[in-house]
Amino acid sequence: MNSSLSTQNDDGIKAIMLEIQNQLRSRTSDSTKIGPQTNITRDLGLDSLAIMDFIFDLEDSFDISIPMERIAEVQTISDLAQAIAILQKEAA
């Protein structure tokens, strides 16, 4: 997955990570650590419905649709950011 994203996209990924973290702040407890390797289903204390809602909000803010197959491949915040970057590129 990484090879398709050259280093010049790193800033893009950082911006995406920032938005993901913003979206998660309001949904998780203050003590929850949110980093690139945070596992979305395991570490955030969110149930599947909360995660679905979180994904819907991300779709709105990035103006993309994240197909269910892609969501299934995502485990960490970093995976999610990469997937969003690819979808943005595909949509452009």
Binding site: A50, D63, I66, E69, A91
Partner: protein
């Protein structure tokens, strides 16, 4: 020692916690079925209020007789799929009758409603197509997506604008877009904003499939469901449905007015690789289906009954689903109270369904009941009374028991609408014989 079941350890724990307070909702065993609305459970006569038996057809004499005749003349089963082992006359007759009932060109019979969704959706949406499904879709629709080669995109529940944004993003992509919605959603009894969905699907040239599982026989002058009720049948591409609710037996179907649908029989694995419905089931389904169009008196009774339960519980101060429908669900935040209420009702001789997250919207615990035209006002009054009494004990309702008797509208006097749902409690009191408009 490790076991192949180890991965279910947390589920086991959950289940144990659930059953510690009484019975397991998933392990109820009826000793005797007395009628569409009563059964013996642990030696106690129990009112059935969670069966989806909307028109009370399970003991319909003509349907039972038709099944017995078919059993005697054609045997207990077909022992194979129609593709491999051939069709019986009844299969084809039932398909023709379904097509005629809906006024559409063709119908395909499946062995269950689950398989109808699985088989229809997975076959209709192929490799280069897009499936757009409502987030609150039934498991059969989600599973169909897994079986399909199409890309699957979810839209927010009952949100045509969210669907529109997603179709907009796909508008330059080749490939068909198939939108899947349900008429009445099985957990809360809320209904799809059909007209708005149709506008969106027309704008983007998408196909629309609607699962009328809970509205067949229940809505519309002739019982064809939400699409008939809304006068929108000509704008619908595909309807799926089941015989396991208002029709009182088992089986499912896909109907459409689009030419060429029969090819689905040769690509739909859930059609091809499972045995066809047995003759007795087909015979009772045909008999009951033939009566649906003329069953307006039963429908009227069903909606009156639903209104009695919905209004009674609402007056008692329970938080319910957003619209009156034959599915009446009490929304609870607290697992323990939900389990206590469900067990309390059972002890008082009223059987309902307990639905738990994640199968429920917003992570609610739902005490779900489905009303039947066969219920008596006395049965419903008893259910409301018992619910209210336990609700008061648990602090779930705020009103005194006496208030519920007049069934008066107490809109606005209900407990604060939950943050998750702004729509539930401030609606106008629904009319009994008219499916309420969505909020």
């Amino acid at each position: 020692m490790s076991s192949i079941f180890d991965k279910f350890a947390s589920l086991q724990e959950q289940h144990a916690a659930l059953t510690a307070a009484g019975k397991s909702p998933a392990e109820i065993r009826f000793d005797e079925i007395i009628s569409p609305t009563e059964a013996m459970l642990d030696g106690k006569r129990t009112i059935l209020m969670g069966t989806n038996n909307y028109l009370g057809m399970t003991f319909d004499e003509e349907a039972v007789d038709a099944a017995i005749t078919a059993l005697k003349t054609e045997g207990t089963g077909t022992t194979g799929s129609r593709i491999a082992n051939g069709s019986y006359n009844g299969h084809e007759a039932l398909e023709q009758e379904l097509a005629d009932f809906y006024g559409m060109r063709s119908a395909i019979l499946f062995s269950t409603g689950y398989q109808a969704n699985l088989g229809a959706i997975s076959a209709l949406a192929g490799r280069d197509d897009y499936l757009l499904i409502d987030a609150d879709s039934h498991a059969s629709i989600y599973d169909a997506c897994r079986l399909s080669d199409a890309q699957v995109i979810r839209f927010r529940h009952n949100d045509p604008q969210n669907l529109a944004r997603k179709l907009e993003r796909l508008k330059d992509k080749p490939g068909n877009k198939l939108v899947v919605i349900e008429s009445i959603y099985s957990m809360l009894g809320d209904m799809a904003p059909l007209k708005e969905f149709i506008e969106v699907k027309k704008k983007y040239g998408a196909y629309l499939l609607i699962d009328e599982a809970h509205s067949l026989g229940v809505m519309g002058e002739k019982g064809r469901g939400l699409c008939e009720h809304e006068g929108a049948e000509s704008d619908i591409d595909f309807v799926t449905g089941t015989f396991s609710k208002s029709i009182g037996t088992v089986g499912g179907f896909l109907v459409s007015d689009l030419p060429g649908m029969d090819i689905i029989r040769f690509v739909s694995r859930p059609y091809m690789f499972t045995a066809s419905p047995p003759p007795s089931v087909v015979a009772s389904a045909r008999k009951t289906l033939s009566r649906i169009a003329g069953a307006s008196a039963l429908r009227k009774k069903l909606w009156e009954n639903a209104a009695q339960l919905y209004n009674g519980l609402q007056a008692a101060g329970f938080e319910l689903g957003p619209t009156l429908s034959p599915i009446v669900a009490i929304r609870l935040k607290d697992a323990e109270k939900a389990i206590t209420l469900w067990n309390g009702l059972l002890e008082a001789g009223v059987y309902t369904n307990l639905a738990l997250p994640p199968a429920t919207p917003f992570g609610w615990y739902l005490l779900r009941s489905s009303i039947s035209a066969a219920h008596t006002p006395e049965q419903i009054a008893l259910a409301v009374e018992v619910c209210t009494k336990i609700g008061l004990e648990l602090g779930l309702t705020t009103l005194s028991n006496s208030n519920k008797a007049n069934g008066a509208a107490l809109n606005g006097a209900s407990p604060s609408p939950s943050s998750a749902s702004t729509e539930a409690t401030d609606t106008a009191q629904p009319e009994a014989d008219e499916p309420a408009a969505r909020v």
